[in-house]
Symmetry: C2
Subunit: 443 residues, 2 copies
């Protein structure tokens, strides 16, 4: 696996640095704790899937101001020489508790808490929100698709319309950990070891003057990996041309792996194509479909009786189109020995360092969660936040992406079906413990 080059601490809103300069000038170096959480649910959402922690921790470990960075900051003519000198040897020395990647969690529950000297904890705010927020949002969207597909494989096809380059990579990783089976994104395949797939676009068919010539040419080069795109001109005719080529492939002991539909009425066309393939004895040839799918459209196609064996899922999931951001925040909850909170309208926060406790039934099914104080004894539930960084160093080796994927699959099985509906009709119960409630009252 390739490692990211550190972004460096300039990946930040300027106010992180002006605040840091203020703390520096006033010698405020006592430890502070910030809590990272998502305020409420986006429309139709009911759960989140934690993702992005590995990127976050690697950046915290390795982030340094370079000489160029210091020169740039100096030119802004905002910062004192003393502060800039301090930044030259700045590094993150704090600790982090977090939900392991692949953990299911719910609104208002901390995904991570960062404890460090105030400046160090402050400077990484923007970075942590961005990195964990985006990957968590995509993993959560992907989980909805996986549930809607009810066992049918899903492939990430979103790279062409993700919001930039980094997003393309992160979407491949986040969808895979939530149960997708692969990606079209070759760089993600190389970077993360995710299985890659893809065969042909309409341009290939056009370059060969028609379905038959294009399919035959492709089968010639990839006899074991041919999926023919059959809708360039007419889907049913395309299916018939695929059958012609399949007959010829049989002579050398091959058949196409599948055909792909990319436009039109998916339920109806897939049934027609299935009949054409079956009539030719090509029951083993799969039907792939890839036209604007997301969890809603997958559920509808299956409900309409589509004969689709696997879905290519693109733009709508790659940008989480129906909810393209989460209201993720990073809030100061304790500083210099004081628990603190904010009272702005609609933006209240709970003071104090926290833990999330999850109660399960005798079959391991999730019953309810409670947000409590980090150090309280809460007997009816397993604590979910783990110490993942101490003194600026990650505590353990990172789990592999496959291990994260397995963790998520296990957790998702334990979430009762009634919380998995696409309209999020029923909310999973999350309480605040008596101890944490009492702490709020004392402030």
């Amino acid at each position: 696996m390739k490692k990211n080059r550190p972004l460096g601490p300039l990946f930040a809103d300027l106010y992180e640095l002006t605040m840091a300069a203020g703390y520096f000038a006033h010698r405020m170096a006592a430890p502070a704790t910030f809590s990272l959480f998502i305020r409420g649910y986006p429309p139709n959402r009911n759960y989140f899937v934690a993702a992005g922690l590995q990127d976050a921790l690697q950046e915290l470990e390795s982030s340094r101001f370079t000489a160029d960075d210091i020169d740039y900051l100096k030119k802004l003519d905002l910062f004192s020489d003393e502060f800039l000198t301090y930044l030259r040897s700045f590094r993150f020395t704090g600790s982090v508790t977090a939900l392991p990647e692949g953990t299911l969690f719910f609104a208002d529950e901390p995904i991570a808490e960062v404890t460090a000297p105030l400046i160090e904890a402050q400077v990484f705010e923007t970075f942590l929100l961005n990195t964990i927020g985006f990957q968590t949002m995509i993993a959560s969207k992907a989980a909805r698709c996986v549930h809607a597909a009810a066992g049918r494989p899903l492939i990430d096809f979103s790279l062409r319309r993700t919001q930039g380059r980094d997003a393309g990579l992160k979407v491949a990783r986040s969808t895979y950990l939530a149960g997708f089976n692969g990606t079209s994104n070759v760089l993600a395949g190389q970077t993360y070891g995710i299985p890659v797939s893809g065969t042909m676009a309409h341009s290939f068919v056009q370059a060969f003057e028609g379905d038959y010539a294009a399919f035959a040419a492709f089968a010639d080069v990839f006899p074991g990996h041919s999926v023919f795109l059959i809708d360039t001109y007419d889907t049913r005719d395309g299916a018939r041309q695929a059958v012609r080529v399949a007959e010829e492939m049989k002579k050398t002991g091959h058949i196409p792996a599948g055909v792909r539909l990319d436009s039109g009425d998916m339920a109806e066309l897939s049934r027609q194509v299935r009949r054409i393939l079956d009539a030719a004895g090509l029951q083993e040839v799969k039907i792939f479909a890839s036209s604007g799918f997301d969890e809603y459209k997958i559920a509808k196609a299956i409900g309409d009786g589509a004969r689709i064996d696997a879905f290519g899922v693109g733009t709508n999931v790659g940008v989480s189109a129906d909810a393209p951001f989460v209201d993720i925040v990073y809030k100061l909850v304790r500083t210099d020995g004081r628990d603190v909170r904010k009272l702005s309208p609609g933006k209240k926060t709970l003071a104090g360092e926290k833990q999330v406790f999850r109660e399960t039934d005798s079959n391991g099914q999730f019953l309810r969660d409670a947000i409590g104080c980090r150090r309280e004894r809460f007997d009816t539930g397993e604590p979910l936040l783990q110490t993942v960084m101490r003194d600026g160093r990650t505590v353990d080796t990172f789990p592999t992406l496959e291990q994260i994927r397995d963790r998520f699959a296990d957790q998702f099985e334990r979430l009762p079906e009634r919380y998995k509906t696409l309209d999020a009709a029923e909310k999973y119960p999350v309480a605040v413990t008596a101890d944490l409630e009492k702490l709020q009252q004392t402030l």
Copy 2:
């Protein structure tokens, strides 16, 4: 300005490479032309602002398969040794025509056309769609905000919730070229030379046990650059604490640059805060506001009589929340001397290499566009697509970001107001020339 490290040609859907292998095996090396355009408008959109070309051309120039890339592809067990050997010396040798960055354009008009040996033009499809599509979408969204703000400055505050790291940088650049005045994103400031701004978050106020102590501490460090965030506890009280600190600052010849509102009813609170500041003789202290603004909310606040001098614009613009993708496509229009098109339902394309002609009135105001054949003579309009790359090399030095911003400002002034409404009620007229229409009929 920092230069991007090349992404390399693995930033692609796998099918770009399997198609390339197909073309290679069948010795299809004749030139092909692909046209990059946006199919129709997202909801409420009426125009687009071209952005992303510099990134695109730099990547085309420098993109190479590394030895690691070749090793990875070999392990996929899909490609012949001959093809992998070919990839070792692969580079883009073609030509590109494109709209210069900052150009206003409309649905279905080519943003760029790429002509190169078929494999070279194909392999970069995914990358070009991603890079130009995202930046164009954000620049277009930003232009709507600039228009709604009617001269009030806008600052990009989106970094914490952009879709990944690259998106954060590109949003800063794309919003700036469309008329934003700066960004909170320090890395974008360093990378692109965009003015940066930002002062304090709620955590700063909390760390100091209250508004007064926090504002005084900040003013002490940044007497010439203080914007006090006044809504941590109560906005009106926060304004009064800002006044107290301002009185003290006056003794050393300073006043705060401004105060910032970040929650609540912006129109009403801004009027109340303006009265508090004015009553204290602080007419020069500006009011900044930053709570979920986009073009709709900016227009509403101004319509409601808000006394806001400048807006911080974040998430809703940084992810283009109401329309988080554009239907950008890259379609084969000519190959091996043949003009080609695709007939899939809802996805028809116009065959042939193209030019866009723009007709203006005697005052330079845009009247209408026509999409025509690249080589036709069309007397009533200025051709917009320019040759920007030839034989794999960019033709000219790149314009500066300031020049691009000026180009956009000039173009936007020339677009009649009736096409700038937020509901996009009236569409700008774009015709197809008789020559291009005739070409379609002959196929």
